[in-house]
Amino acid sequence: MSAQVKYRKEPFRLRLVRNIRQHPWLYIMILPAVAYFIIFHYLPMYGVVISFQDYHPVRGITKSPWVGLKHFNNFLNGPFFWRLLRNTLSINIGLLLVGFPLPIIFALMLNESRSGPFKKVVQTITYMPHFVSSVVVCGLMVIFCRGDGILTFILSKFGMPQSNLLTYKQYFQPLYIAMNVWQELGWDSIIYFAALAGVDASLYEAAYVDGAGRWRQMWHITLPSILPTIVILLVMRVGNLLSLGWDRIFLLYNDMVMETADVISTYVYRTGMVQMQYSFASAVGLMNSLVNVVLLIGANALSRKFTDSSLW
């Protein structure tokens, strides 16, 4: 883009001063946002240096002793590493396998419906759970899964035990995934509806004239049209494979299901905020973040290699 010849290559500092003089308001207006990102994002990024220290609040970052990779070693060799990694991965992969294709199938199916008002009503209703707060969703889940709860009642007809389901190790992850899918199925499909609305209608006309039925139209026109959207979203999901918000699991889990419910982020919260092992928790969090970035870059590279779509 910037291939054109620059007539005068001024030093950056001079250009900046001139730019500030010409557009002082721009610099004033961006100030609050820049301050926000520096204070609440970049200072904490600097703050991860405590992962390499034995941080003590009274001493602060500057005076706490350096301990190198001690906390990283402790975590990697600690009793919980494999359990946390396994749970974080399996919940995320479960969410990916179930929660990713369902909105696509849902959007494709509803798109096949010819009635506009029916489509609108179904969309409005399925978006609804997205607007219910996490606390309420998890709270209802806790109530519904008790021994006398309605979900327990329904599932007991299918052979599940009639006692508190959230205390069973083997049910925690499926229940957690089901709850998330319930809440986000409709909402996650919005983006596909948007992509579907953009498909050129004349393609369907042509296919119809050529004798392609509904199924083949979907397979040969609709699906390829929304494929770039699918790929981009998949890349983002894979990039988040090791990040799992701790809030919902924190709301749902209990001592009896730690074996399958405890994930990296809940562990960071517990060790850091509850047990106040600041440095150790911070080291665990940092490792998690780094692996995420690597996953995202990897997923994006793969996507760029095998398809035309990529995040950057």
Binding site: M29, F37, V132, V135, I190
Partner: protein, 297 residues
């Protein structure tokens, strides 16, 4: 589209019926948990306690006792007030800062545009984590204040990018005349961009509003003082931690065991109805926001 008017084959009919059946079932699954809670909240406390299984109407005798008890709880009313402050304050401040920043970052004349955009995008994929943030919040002296709830999440990079994408699509011709008349960037923002951007402002206000309404864990981490807690924190106590003092202040133990369940359902309804009443009217803004966001990835 004339494609709709074409003759349907038998296969088409079967497909349509299957689609309608699946969609109706899905809609019921989405709605029923909330309907159940609504029915339960008006049910008789004793009848509710002895009942397992589905509800298709409140259990008689109908009562609003649960709501009376829920509202008589001082903690709940304080928390509703806090939520109002957080939702209005956080949304107003956040939208304003986001709007200004998005405007600046959409200006080709802003020299640091690329640099600051990169700086913001990085934060979407990498964060220092909760522990360093906690240390910062303590360090700048806002720990255990209302600011601790609001400031650490006052702007969302995602919303900023959506808004910037919209601003970039505003035709430059509109502002050229204003520049020639000697208008400052600030004047152009207020006089040209804000009036043109009502739709996107609505989207961002909704995003922030719902976000603040649902927030709770800031309190858990940064606000030990429960007088600062929002509704969602009290809900958490009521529904999950089973802390009795959160639900009721002065009730006899016997009565409490009956009504505690009822109060749970009522509290859920109190905390959910406002947003469920509003969302059908504003969902088109959300959809629009999701689409603008999708274009940019």
């Amino acid at each position: 589209m004339d494609i709709m008017k074409r003759h349907k084959s038998v296969g088409d009919w079967i497909a349509d019926i299957i689609i309608i059946a699946v969609m109706v079932a899905l809609s019921l699954i989405c709605v029923y948990p909330i309907l159940f809670t609504l029915f339960a909240s008006f049910s008789d406390a004793k009848a509710l306690l002895n009942r397992t299984g589905l509800l298709f109407a409140p259990l008689q005798p109908y009562t609003v006792e649960g709501y009376r008890l829920a509202f008589s709880n001082v903690k709940l009313s304080t928390s509703i007030w806090n939520t109002v402050i957080y939702v209005i304050g956080g949304t107003a401040l956040g939208t304003f800062i986001t709007g200004m920043a998005a405007f600046v970052l959409s200006r080709k004349s802003f020299l640091l545009r690329g640099f600051i955009m990169k700086m913001i995008t990085v934060t979407m994929f990498f964060s220092g984590g909760i522990i360093p943030l906690f240390i910062i919040v303590r360090g700048i002296g806002i720990y255990n204040t209302r600011w601790a709830f609001l400031l650490p999440w006052i702007i969302s990079a995602y919303n900023l990018i959506i808004m910037r994408t919209f601003f970039e699509s505003v035709p430059a011709a509109l502002e050229e005349a204003a520049y020639l008349d000697g208008a400052t960037d600030l004047q152009i923002f207020f006089r040209i961009y804000i009036p043109l951007s009502k739709a996107i402002i609505a989207v961002i206000v909704m995003y922030y509003g719902v976000g603040w309404w649902n927030s709770w864990y800031q309190s858990l981490v940064f606000q030990p003082d429960n007088k600062l807690w929002p509704l969602q924190m009290i809900l958490r106590e009521t529904l999950i931690s089973n802390d009795r003092s959160a639900t009721m202040d002065v009730t006899s133990m016997a009565e409490e065991s009956y009504t505690r369940e009822l109060v749970k359902y009522c509290t859920v309804i109190i905390a959910t109805v406002p947003i469920l009443v509003i969302y059908p009217f504003v969902q088109k803004h959300f959809v629009k926001g999701a689409m603008i966001g999708a274009v940019k990835g």
